[in-house]
């Protein structure tokens, strides 16, 4: 047989095999997590023995439930996206619509470099900021706000890129007709280009939420702890779902905590899948 034919057949066989293997892997991960989480999947998962309503608002501490970690993660993500989104949309507009020539290319490069940085370096940045701050404010410490700022720094380049690319991909005719209508540049950007680019920006934003939600390396150095309950203010330490999963992988008190960590992994995975599915749906719609 022709050697090329051998290679072709091998490639087809291997790729089919691999596809099946990775489908099996997804099922394996799901099944394994489900099995481990089974004892914890009941009404007590979030709040444990604490009464639900007072625990929800943090009046009663939750010792054996996922609520503080879930709430911490949600607060962290909300804050981080709240900080990063306005900043990065404005920066994306700058790169797509205003920056030109050499300086424009430099701005692209710097944001792309930021996107490539290991997340642990973002965490270290927060840690270094606190070291410096302590020279002025001796009691400065890592906290929810600091972690949110660093996570914002982590997702900022993705959001800038999403905004920039969505604006660049607008059809040239749309730009021409906005100009021919006599709209000024800022009017065209705010009332025509941004609304037209919004599905792309939104799907970038959802992916950024996913990144912020799953990150551990940044918050590890900027204020996450294993057990503290709900943070009372922006300057408190906080718990987070992915951190709880990581800590439990190294050490755990009892079987119930281990089962809760499995449940937390399942929960985190479903949240991520949900975010990804939404983003894909949006991308499809913006393409059609």
């Amino acid at each position: 047989m022709n050697p090329r034919t051998v290679i072709e057949r091998t490639v087809v066989a291997l790729s089919t095999l691999l596809a099946a293997a990775f489908a099996g892997l997804l099922l394996l991960i799901l099944g394994f997590l489900l099995m481990g989480a089974w004892p914890a999947l009941n009404g007590r998962l979030l709040f444990g023995d604490a009464p639900a309503w007072p625990a929800l608002s943090g009046q009663v501490p939750v010792w054996d439930g996922l609520w503080p970690a879930l709430a911490g993660s949600l607060m962290l993500v909300t804050l981080a996206i709240g900080i990063a989104l306005p900043l990065s949309i404005a920066a994306g507009i700058h790169q797509a619509e205003y920056a030109r020539g050499r300086r424009g290319r430099l701005a692209y490069t710097l944001v792309d470099l930021l996107a490539g940085m290991p997340s642990i370096v973002m965490g270290l940045t927060g840690f270094m900021l606190i070291l410096l701050l302590r020279n002025i404010l001796p009691e400065a410490n890592t906290s929810l706000l600091l972690a949110a700022c660093c996570v914002a720094l982590l997702v900022l380049p993705y959001l800038v890129q999403a905004t920039r690319v969505s604006l660049h991909q607008l059809p040239a005719e749309l730009r021409l007709s906005a100009q021919a209508l006599g709209l000024s540049q800022s009017q065209a950007i705010l009332h025509v280009y941004l609304p037209a680019a919004s599905p792309g920006i939104l799907s970038g934003c959802i992916l950024a939420i996913g990144r912020a939600l799953e990150d551990v390396a940044v918050i590890l150095l900027t204020g996450v702890v294993a057990e503290t309950g709900l943070p009372g203010s922006l300057f408190d330490k906080f718990e987070a779902l992915p951190f709880f999963i990581m800590v439990t992988a190294a050490e755990y008190r009892d079987e119930a905590q281990l089962a809760r960590a499995f449940a937390a992994a399942l929960l985190l995975m479903s949240l991520s899948a949900l975010l990804f599915a939404t983003a894909r749906q949006l991308q499809k719609r913006s393409l059609s």
């Binding site: 930021l114 290991p118 995975m269």
Partner: protein, 284 residues
């Protein structure tokens, strides 16, 4: 008036985004000052003995650990990712290919911590108890986990890079009587060598930057492994572990040096990728 306002606000935000890199670099250099001023300590950086109390802060074995882990994970992830990308592009029957894309998207969406967690409770015990490979926490375990985690990402990256060329050439290939696999292997792949290389570079950046899998699965021994069943430590994990445990200024200084090494790698990857795409832009 509003014209100026929007332009100024956008330029301000653009400035912040662009300056972040310089700010991080400046922080690292500034806080690392004690280290840059101490020649003996600087020289010890290049060694492989880590004993901050004795003034030895060698990063060599961690740097080698990072490269070993990243290279071995890519050795698994890149060929697998390429094959999976080919199968979504056209090796698999059409409905199956669509299902494959969804599967890859789902897998690439699984948080890193979940991969590491599953690995700790499934792969590590299997290596330890069934295969009898030492503690289980090892270079091998970390490489397998990182490789599996990177595969769907690599596959999606490659299928995105190859699909425009494939779609463009499909009609011509059909007219010549080429099968899909022939078109992909002998026409599309050679035409997209640069895209293949830049995807490799990009995923190597991801592999080097990973912290969690290295931290949770690799065993974190501070010496170099003699074989894949022994533990190793990466620069990223070293940063996390040192900041959690040490409070000595020498140890901190080494952390700043480790971060600068990582950033240098990221920058190298970026400029290599950029020069690749520049050259291909000149060609077309």
């Amino acid at each position: 008036m509003s014209e100026r306002l929007l332009a100024t606000a956008a330029a301000f935000a653009g400035g912040i985004a662009a300056c972040a890199v310089f700010a991080i670099l400046a922080l690292l250099l500034w806080l690392g000052l004690p280290l840059w001023r101490d020649p003996a300590l600087l020289i010890s950086l290049a060694g492989s003995s880590w004993n901050p109390a004795a003034g030895e802060i060698g990063l060599a074995s961690m740097a080698a650990g990072t490269l070993l882990l990243a290279a071995s994970a890519l050795l698994l992830a890149y060929p697998c990712g390429l094959l999976l990308a080919l199968s979504t592009l056209g090796l698999a029957p059409r409905p199956l290919a669509a299902a494959m894309r969804t599967l890859l998207a789902l897998l690439s969406g699984i948080p890193t911590v979940v991969y590491a967690f599953v690995s700790v409770w499934l792969l590590v015990p299997w290596l330890r108890d069934s295969l009898g490979l030492g503690m289980g926490y090892s270079w091998l375990a970390a490489a397998l986990t990182l490789g599996v985690m990177l595969t769907p990402t690599v596959a999606l990256l490659l299928s995105g890079a190859l699909s425009p060329t494939f779609t463009r050439l499909q009609a011509a290939g059909d007219a010549l009587g080429l099968s899909r696999v022939q078109l992909l292997l002998w026409v599309v792949l050679p035409a997209e060598r640069r895209a293949l290389l830049s995807a490799l570079l990009l995923s190597s950046g991801r592999a080097v930057g990973d912290t969690l899998i290295a931290l949770m699965v690799s065993g974190n021994a501070i010496w170099l492994p003699a074989n894949p069943t022994e533990p190793l430590r990466t620069l990223t994990a070293h940063i996390a572990i040192t900041l959690a445990a040490d409070t000595q200024s020498q140890a901190y200084a080494a952390i700043y040096a480790a971060s600068l090494l990582l950033l240098a790698y990221v920058a190298l990857v970026h400029f290599l990728t950029a020069s690749l795409s520049d050259e291909s832009a000149h060609r077309h």
